[in-house]
């Protein structure tokens, strides 16, 4: 009996393993039923995710406040003075203002470039369990979004639409390890390929071995054929360090992205871009130091009244 049970267990294990390998094979061969399963799951889950996003917004803001405690100390001091109800309202307002600011910035950038965009809210951040960097937005095929569309925010390139569901879309972030984008160095017009590394920094590899880059160089998207997956001219990041290793065929460099990927609330999906390449027009202008006006007061002693003038 015990041997029979053991054999049954082994048989079950073998059947399960074969089934999983069968599923992998079907998926890799692009069987539509398999992709339909994922799409169906996402369609069923998206209302719950939207609800969860609204409910957990204060909790998420709390964690962000804790993480950024040093930076927002002055804000925290102000908030401490208010009571619990006002604190909650204030956090809510900060959240809305932040989203509004992000939306405004995103639309400003799109307007400057002449992009036709659809803006959407980030409703979920992809689990890093699978070593991928993704976000889910609350706009999908019903809003006209298609795979391989460029996604931007106020600071520049966020990523590319990877998968589209009826009401949501999965965005592959520029920091995803599988992300590759053709870039152009603003000004010098050198070209290279920027790869995501799964961290906050990307790695740039120049294509021409005669070209050189330096710290502080700004990178913009080079653009793709028919503007998909990348529209040209979108700012991406800034070179933070250059690898001048002897013997390297081409120069490589570390790049810091303009977008803060841990605080993305609103993004815009580029639906249509103008035929004209904006070149370097979208690069954020370097801050100009504002001169501090100095006031000089000259004090001239008034004449002391003479006895004769006093009458």
């Amino acid at each position: 009996m015990a041997r029979g049970g053991e054999n049954r267990g082994r048989l079950l294990l073998i059947i399960l393993v074969i089934t999983s390998l069968f599923l992998i094979t079907l998926d890799l061969r692009g069987v539509s039923v398999i992709s339909g399963l994922r799409s169906g799951t996402q369609t069923a889950l998206s209302p719950v995710q939207s609800f969860g996003s609204i409910v957990l917004s204060p909790v998420r803001n709390f964690f962000v406040d804790v993480i950024n405690l040093g930076r927002t100390r002055s804000e925290m001091e102000e908030l401490r003075e208010t009571n619990g109800r006002l604190q909650s309202q204030l956090r809510e307002k900060i959240n809305i203002d932040s989203q509004l600011e992000q939306l405004q910035g995103s639309l400003d950038l799109a307007g400057k470039a002449g992009f036709k965009v659809v803006s959407a809210r980030v409703i979920s951040q992809g689990a890093t369990t699978s070593f991928t960097q993704t976000i889910t937005i609350d706009a999908g095929s019903r809003n006209g979004i298609k795979p391989n569309m460029t996604v931007i925010n106020a600071f520049g390139l966020v990523g590319v639409v990877k998968t589209v569901f009826p009401n949501t879309a999965l965005i592959s972030l520029a920091i995803d390890p599988s992300f590759r984008v053709g870039v152009r160095v603003a000004g010098s017009q050198q070209i290279g390929i920027l790869s995501g590394q799964g961290s906050r920094k990307g790695v740039l590899q120049l294509l021409d071995n005669q070209s050189t880059i330096s710290v502080g160089d700004i990178l913009v998207a080079r653009g793709s054929v028919e503007n998909q997956p990348f529209v040209p001219g979108v700012p991406i990041g800034e070179v933070t360090s250059v690898d001048n290793a002897a013997g390297a065929v081409t120069q490589t460099a570390d790049v810091s992205f303009f977008v803060n990927f841990s605080a993305i609330g609103i993004v815009s999906v580029v639906m249509k871009a103008p035929d004209v390449d904006p070149r370097d027009a979208l690069i954020p202008k370097a801050p100009v130091p504002t001169p501090i006006p100095t006031v000089t007061v000259y004090v001239t002693p008034s004449r002391s009244p003479s006895p004769s003038s006093g009458g």
Partner: protein
């Protein structure tokens, strides 16, 4: 296994899956956080016999594969969790003290999560997917292990009670 047991187990798995997908992923926990559903499935497997452990891994893996945040091929997590679920339940069955001691079971689940992620990584590399720099992978696995070690003792009593309620046996942890 009775219809009642199967029905209640399936319902519980579905609830934890929805909680994971709709709430836990939205918390924006530092370093990627933890997967409540993965911990739940592996704890469930650790409390079960090896064949049920493998079956638990199959169902849990299939659900993770269906998640929109999973970008690998469908069946990849299924394959990994069948093996890990079987392994965890085999270890739990072979060493009774593992089941009796919360510390050892926390260690077992943490190691199982690490093993599952490493297996998934290897399978992804075999399938030709880009996985990023070694540093980011190691950091991600380490942080994930720390979060799992922190979260497992918190959810363990609840899962053990739910298991006992469905299994109609005395508490094992």
């Amino acid at each position: 296994m009775s219809t009642r047991k199967i029905g209640l187990t399936a319902l519980l798995f579905l609830i934890v899956y929805v909680v994971q997908e709709a709430f836990i992923t939205q918390l924006g926990i530092t370093g990627g956080g933890f997967s409540l559903f993965l911990i739940f499935a592996l704890l469930w497997a650790a409390l079960s016999s090896p064949d049920i452990g493998a079956l638990t891994g199959f169902v849990a893996g299939l659900l993770i594969d269906l998640s929109q945040s999973t970008s690998g091929a469908l069946g990849q997590w299924t394959f990994v969790l069948i093996l890990v679920g079987f392994g965890v339940s085999y270890l739990g069955l072979g060493y009774e003290n593992v089941r009796m001691n919360p510390f050892t079971i926390t260690f077992l689940i943490t190691m199982a999560v690490v093993a599952a992620r490493v297996l998934y990584l290897l399978l992804s590399l075999l399938l030709g997917e880009s996985m990023g720099s070694i540093t980011s992978i190691v950091i991600s696995i380490l942080i994930g292990a720390l979060w799992t070690a922190a979260a497992t003792p918190l959810v363990m009593p609840v899962i053990a009670r739910a298991y006992d309620f469905i299994d109609d046996t005395r508490s094992r942890i």
